[in-house]
Amino acid sequence: MKTSSVVVFGLAALIQWAAPVMQIWKHESVLTGGALVKIKCGAPDPYDPLRGRFLAVRPEQDMVTVPSGAAYSSGQTVYGWLDVGADGLATVTKLSETLPADHLAIELTTSYSYDGKVYITWPFDRFYLNEKIAPEADVWLRDNLRDRKTVVAEVRVKDGRAVLQTLSLDGKSFRDILAERVGH
C-alpha cells in the first residue's frame, strides 16, 4: 500500500468526520448556550427523501419594515433584532447588516424589498419527525389551524445562529402531543 494512498485516504476519512462534527459543534453550542425564543408559525408536511420526514416550519412573520432609504439586495445576509412581546413570542423589529453586540439577533436572508418592507427567509424551515407520527401531524395541524390555535417554534439563538429545538402548542411539545395521539 503506497504512502500517498494512506495519506489521501486518511485525509478523506478525516474530512468525512470533520464535516458533520463541525455542524454538531456549531449547533450544540447554540442548543446548550443559546437564549430561548418563541416564534409564532404554521406548518404543512412535505418529505425530504434523503433525510427523512419533516414538517415545514414557516414563521408567521415574513417581512420587516425598514427606515426609508435603507437598501437591501436580494439574498443578502442580515441580522434581525428579536424583541419579545407581552405574549412571550418574539418578533423581528429591526434589521442590521452586522451582528449587534448587546441585543439578541438572528441571522436572516433577505428575499426582496419593496416599499419600505424587506421580506425575509428564516434560517430554519423544518422539524423532523418519526415516520410513524408524521402523518398524524397533518391531521393535527389541520384541526389546530381551523381552531386558530397557535403553533410556536422554540428556537435557541446564540451569536446570530439559530437552532430549532421543538414545536409546541400551549407549552406542550409537538412530539409529545402527536405521540399521545398515535398511542406511541
Binding site: 500500500m1 494512498s5 494512506v6 489521501v8 485516504f9 485525509l11 478523506a12 476519512a13 474530512i15 468525512q16 468526520w17 464535516a19 458533520p20 455542524q23 454538531i24 449547533h27 442548543l31 425530504d48 427523501p49 434523503l50 433525510r51 427523512g52 420526514r53 419533516f54 439586495s73 436580494s74 439574498g75 443578502q76 434560517p123 430554519f124 424551515d125 423544518r126 422539524f127 423532523y128 419527525l129 418519526n130 415516520e131 407520527i133 437552532v163 430549532l164 429545538q165 412530539r175 405521540a179 406511541h184
Partner: protein, 422 residues
Amino acid sequence: MPTLAANMKTSHNRWLLDQLPSWEQEGIINGDGASILRERYAEKSEGISLVQLIFGGLGALLVGLGLIAVIGYNWDDFGRPARLLFAFLPLLGAQAFSFWVLRKGDTLAPWVRESAALFQAITAGACLAVVSQIYNMGGSWPEFLFWWLVLSLPLAWVMRSHAVALFYIIGTTVWVVDQMDFFRTHGSSILLYPLLLLGLVPYWPGLRAENRLPVFSRWVLAIGSMIGLCVTIESMVNRSYGSVQFLAWMLLATAYVILPLSAAGVAEGIMRKPQTIIGGGMLIVMSFISSFGAELKFESGGAMNILLGVVVVILLALAISRRRWSELSVASLVVIPLYPEEVQKWFASLHLVGVGLALILLHLNGLRGTPRLGAMILAGVVMARMGDSNLSLLTKGFCFIAVGIGFLVFNVWLSRRNKVAA
C-alpha cells in the same frame, strides 16, 4: 508490435487465444509460435467489468440506502448522543473496511474495492443526513447533495472506484441542472461546476491508462460533463449577453473533439471516445442549423468566450502535433460563426461539404479518416439544400433517390476496398 498488441480490443485478444489450440493441432503454427502469441496477446483485464461494477455497486447501494431508511426513521426514543452514535458507527465501519481493502491491494477482486468505496460514500452521506435531522437543519436537497459529492470525491481517487466516480458525475450533473436559474440576480454557485469537474481529472480521457474508465462510464462522463458545462454557459449567458452561447457551445464542442489523447487513446475505436462523438455531433448539428439560415452570431465580448477560445487554440496546436487530421477537419466547423451574416448560410454548406470530402480523402490516402461520416455529411448537405429549395417535389424526390443510391454504392465500394487493404 507491443503497441499493436496493447491497442487490440480485449475481445480480439480472446478470439486469437481461442484459435491457438486448433491452429497448433492443424499444424498452422508450432508450439513456440503459439507461446509467443499467447505471451504477446495475453488477455489483459480492463480492470473491472460493467457486470462486476453493477453487482458490487448494487450490493453496496442497497445496504447504504437501507441504512439511510433505517436512520431516517428518526428514533425519537433515543437522546441526541445515542442518535449521533448511530450516525457515526456505520461511517466508522465503512472506513475500517475500506482501509482493510486498501491494505489488501490487488489481492482482492475489483468488485470488493468498488463495494467498499461506494459503501463508504453512502455512509458519509447518511452521517450528514442524520446530523441534519437531529438538529433540524434546513437547506435544500441539492445543497446536501453538493456536500455529499465533495466528501465522496477522494474515494474515487484513492480507492480507484469507478462506482464512486459515476456517482460523482451523475450527482454533479443533477446538482448543476438544479442550479440553473434564469432569474437569479445574486452570485451564482453554478460557477463551481467547472471546479467540481476538475475533481475527476484522473479519469479524464487521454490521461493515465490505469485510470481509464470502462466504455459505459466514459459515456456517462462525456454526457454528464457536456450537459453540466452547457448549463453553466447558458446560466452565465442569460445574465449578460444575448446570442453568444452559440459560439461558446461550438468552442466547447471543439474542445471535446480535440481533447488531448495519448497515442494509445488516439488509436482506440471511435466508440471508446464518446467525447469525440458528442463534440463532433454538436458541431455538425449546429453547422447544419446555420446552413438553414439561423445566424450563429459572433460576439467579440465575453470573458467566457475568450477563455474558451484560448483553450481551443492550445488544443488545436496539440491536435496538429499529433496529426489528428480527421478530428481537426470536424473541429474546423468552429469558424462558421465568423462568416459574415449575409453569406453564412452558404458558406456553412460549403464548409460542411469540405469537411465531408476531407474525411473521405483522408481515408483514401491511408490516413485515419471517417469516410462514412464524410459521406453522411455530404448526403446531409445535399438533402438539406434540396429540402429548402424551390425545386419541384418530383425533382427533389429524384435527388433523394440519387443520394441514397450514391450513399449505398459508396458504402459497398468502401467495404470492398477495406477488405482488399486488410
